[in-house]
Symmetry: C2
Amino acid sequence: MTLDPLNATADKSTPTEQRNRARRGRLSRRNAPSERAPFTGRKIPAYNLLSDTALTRIEDQADWILSKIGIEFRGDHAALDHFAQAGARIDGERVRFEPGHVRALCARAPSKFQLHGRDPAKTVTLGGDNVVLMPGYGSPFVSDLVKGRRYATLEDFRNFVKLAYSAPALHHSGGTVVEPTDIPVNKRHLDMMLAHLTLSTKPFMGSVTAPDRAQDSIEMARLVFARNFMDRHAVMQANINVNSPLIYDDTMSSALRIYAEAGQCVCVSPAIFAGAMGPLSPAAVAAQTLAEAMVGIALAQLVRPGCPVVFGSFHSTMNLRTGALTFGSPEANMTTMALTQLGRRLGVPVRSGGGQITASNAPDGQAMQDSTGAMWSTLLSGAHQIWHAAGWLEGGLVMSYEKFIMDLDHCGAMLKLLQGFATDDEAFGRDAYFETGPGENFLSTSHTLRHYTTANFEPQISDAGPYETWSENGALTADQRATARWHQMSNEYQRPEMKPSIQAALEDFVSERKAQMPDEWY
Amino acid sequence: MTLDPLNATADKSTPTEQRNRARRGRLSRRNAPSERAPFTGRKIPAYNLLSDTALTRIEDQADWILSKIGIEFRGDHAALDHFAQAGARIDGERVRFEPGHVRALCARAPSKFQLHGRDPAKTVTLGGDNVVLMPGYGSPFVSDLVKGRRYATLEDFRNFVKLAYSAPALHHSGGTVVEPTDIPVNKRHLDMMLAHLTLSTKPFMGSVTAPDRAQDSIEMARLVFARNFMDRHAVMQANINVNSPLIYDDTMSSALRIYAEAGQCVCVSPAIFAGAMGPLSPAAVAAQTLAEAMVGIALAQLVRPGCPVVFGSFHSTMNLRTGALTFGSPEANMTTMALTQLGRRLGVPVRSGGGQITASNAPDGQAMQDSTGAMWSTLLSGAHQIWHAAGWLEGGLVMSYEKFIMDLDHCGAMLKLLQGFATDDEAFGRDAYFETGPGENFLSTSHTLRHYTTANFEPQISDAGPYETWSENGALTADQRATARWHQMSNEYQRPEMKPSIQAALEDFVSERKAQMPDEWY
C-alpha cells in the first residue's frame, strides 16, 4: 500500500478520527503554556555554499561509493531481499548499486509531509520552507549548576520533556532526550514513550534499540492516535543511525522496516567523524553521508512506497592529532551546509547535522561559540529539522539544564531572523521624521510607540544592563542566570489534559509489558 | 587632483619609494611572528538576505530622507560650500539632495583599493572578495581575569596593538583600540600613533577628535611612509562617525576633509540605535544609514575625487522597554546583512556593523552567543572590513583580554570557513576506501596521513578533551583558559624592526608636539 503523506487539505481520516483529534486539540489547548508562539517557517532565502558543479561532483562520488564499494546489511535478510528484488547486486551481505539507481528509488519519498501532534496545533510540517527544532538526543548524563554532573534518570527525562513542551522555540519533543539510566535497558522505551505521549502534545520519536521496542513504541502511539489514523499519517519518527562506514546493522535496519511498515517517519542518519568513519575532508564526508543515507531511504520506499523520510546526518570533525571529537568546527559547519543542499536536491526533508552542539565541558563561552556557529550553518543553509537545538554539552554526553535554557534564547532569536523583515511603508516610519528632526530622539515618536512592544525579539537570559547593577546582583554569568529560569519553567509547567481512558490504556500497556520481561541492565 | 587608488600592478611610486618599502618589508619580516597566516579572501558566495525589490525600496527611502528631510553640517562652511557647488539645496546648515544626486557623487569612489602596511606583506585590499578583520575600538575600560576591570591606560593600548600584531587572524591594527585614559585627551593621539607605527606593521587608523590631531596623525604617518607615497596610496583610515540622526558635526566633517585631502581612507559610519537615533525597524535603520553614509562619501569625493572610502555603520538595537543597548540581536544581525548588500550595490567597500559584539558584562556564554551570531551575519553577507572582531565586551565599554583571545579563535575559524572546501579527486580520498572496508577505520589510511596536519582549523582555546581530564586540570572555563594564552602571546611578542632615524623622527615629533600644548583632561 502506498502511503499518502497528507496535508490537512487532503485529510482522509474518518469523521470519528477527526472528532477525536479535535477533542484532543481542545483539551490540550485549555492547558497550553502561556508563552505559545506560532510555528514559524523560513521566509528568507537559503544560503547555498556550493555550486551546482561541486554538488554534482559529490553526488557522483556517492554513486561511486555505492557502485564500487557498496553497503553491508549485516544479518538482515529481509533488507537484502528487498534490494535484490529492486535489481541491486548482492554479494553476501554487501549491496552494490548502479549509478543513479538508489536516487531513483528515493524519488518515491515525499518532499513534504506533516508530523501530527497530539494537539493539532502542535502538528509540524517537514519539508518546504518549514523549520522544526527539537532538543538534544541520547545523553547518558545530565548536569545543572546546583546538583552537578550525574547519570541521567527517568526524572530528568520527564523534566526535559516538560521543558521542551513549555518552550515556544521548540516544535518537537525529541526522542531519547536523555538516557533514563535508572530504568532497565529493555524497559526504558516504555517509560520514555509514556512521558512523550502524556507530558507533551508535540511530535516525538520512538524507540529503535530492538525490534520489539520499536513495535511497542508504535503500539503505544496507536493507543493515542488510533491505528487507522496512523496508517495514513505520521505521528512519530524513528532515528535510524547508520553504523558508518557503510554498514547497517540488523537492529537499525529492522527498526527502519518496522516504522516504515507502520507508515511512520524514518530519519536515516549516517554517523561520520571525518577521518575516522570516512575520509577526513568535508567533500568526502558529504558524499559518504549521501550514499549511506540514500540507501536507507530507498529501503524505506521498498518496504512502503511513499513512506515519509528525513535525510539525516550526524557528522563532525576530530582533532586529528589527539583523537578528541570536535563540534562546531568550520569544516563540520561547511559539511552541514553542503548536506542541506544535497538533501534538498534529493527532494526530501533534511536533518543535515549541526544544531547547538559543542565539545565543551561547561556551558561557557566555548560552548556557545561552537553552538551558535553550528546553528547558523544549519538554519541558514535551509535545513528542515534541527536536532540537538537545546541542551547539548560535552559532545552529547551531557544534557545541561542551563545550556538548554541558554540555547532556547538563540533558537528564538534565529526563528525571528528566519522571518526576515518588512520593507513596507509602515516599516520606514516616515511620519517619525516629521515629528523629530536632525539630532533629535525617535523614542517618543508615535511610530516607536506603535511598534516598540513587538519590534524586537526579547531573550530570557541575556543581560544588557549596566555593569554596576549586574555586579551588585552577584555578577552572575549567563549559565548562572539560567538556573532560575529552568526552575521557573519547571514550576510553571502545566500538564496537557488527556482522556482518562487513554491515559489508563497507556499505563496498562506499560505495566503489562514490564511484567512480561525480566530486567536487563545492559 | 584625482586620487588613483592603485593596485600593486599600477604602482607609480618612485624607485626610491619602492626601495624604502622593500627595505621596510625585509626589516619587519625578519622579526615577524611565527604564526603568520597569509591574508585570506572570501571564496564562498556572499549571502543575500534581501531581494532586489527590497533593496530598491530601502534605497528609495534613503533618497526620500535626503530630499525631504536633509542632513545638517553644523559649523562647517567648507563642507556646505562643497555641496552648494555640487548643486545641492542649502537651507542654513541643512543640505537636501534630489533623488539620485548623492549616489551619483559617490560613483567616483573606488570599489577596491589597497591599504598599505609598513611591511608590504601586511598590505590589505579593501573591496572585492577580500576580508579585513580588526580589533575592537574605543573602549574606556579594559578587563582581565587577574587584575579585574579598570580604566584603560597607554600600557593597555600598547598591549592590544602587540596582540593584534601577533594574531594571524587580524589584518589590521585598529584605531583607538582602547582609550589611554592616563594620557591627556589632547595628547593621546600622539602616543597611539607612535604605538601603531612602531609596535606593528599592519594598517591602522588615525585620530579624528580634532582637526590638529587628524593633521598630526597624517604628519606622523608621512615620517614613515613619505608624503609622495601617501599622496597616491592609502596607508591609514579615519573613523568618521555621523552624529546620527542626520547630523555631521564640525569635528567629524573637518577630520573627513583633512584625511580626504591627504588621500587617506575615510570610513563613514552612521551610529544608529534602532528606535533612538532612527525609527526602530531594520528597514528604516538601513535606509537612514545609507542616506547618512552616502553624504559623507560624497563629501570625500568632492574634496578629492577618487578618495578611497569605506561605507561604514555602527548600528544596533535596544531593549525598548528598559532602554538598555543590545548587541547581536536578530534584528541587528539582519540590518548588518542588509547594509552589506546596500554597500555592495553602492560599489564601495563595506563595514556593515556587526563584528564580535555583545552587551554582556562577562566573557561568558551570552558574550560568545551574541558575538558569534553577529560575526556570522557580518562575514557571510560579504562585508569587507570587520571592526570589533576581537575583545569587545559590555557594549564596547570594555576591551577584555580574555575575550580578545576567545574571539581570535572564531576569527580564525571563520576565515577558514570563508575558504570553502575542495571537491577535487584528492578530497574524495577514493584510495582510502580500498585500504579499508565497511565498518573499518580511516584513521590510518594513507589519505588521512597525507592530510591530517592541515585538514582542520586548530583553535587555541577550545577544549575537546574528556570531562575527567578537564576537571582534574581545574575545570577551567574558556575565559579562564584564555588568560594563559594572552600572557604567552604578550611574552612571545617580537617588536618589528624600524630604521633608527625614522624611530627617532617619530619620537621627536611626539615630544615636540606635547611640549607645545598644555595638558587637557576633558
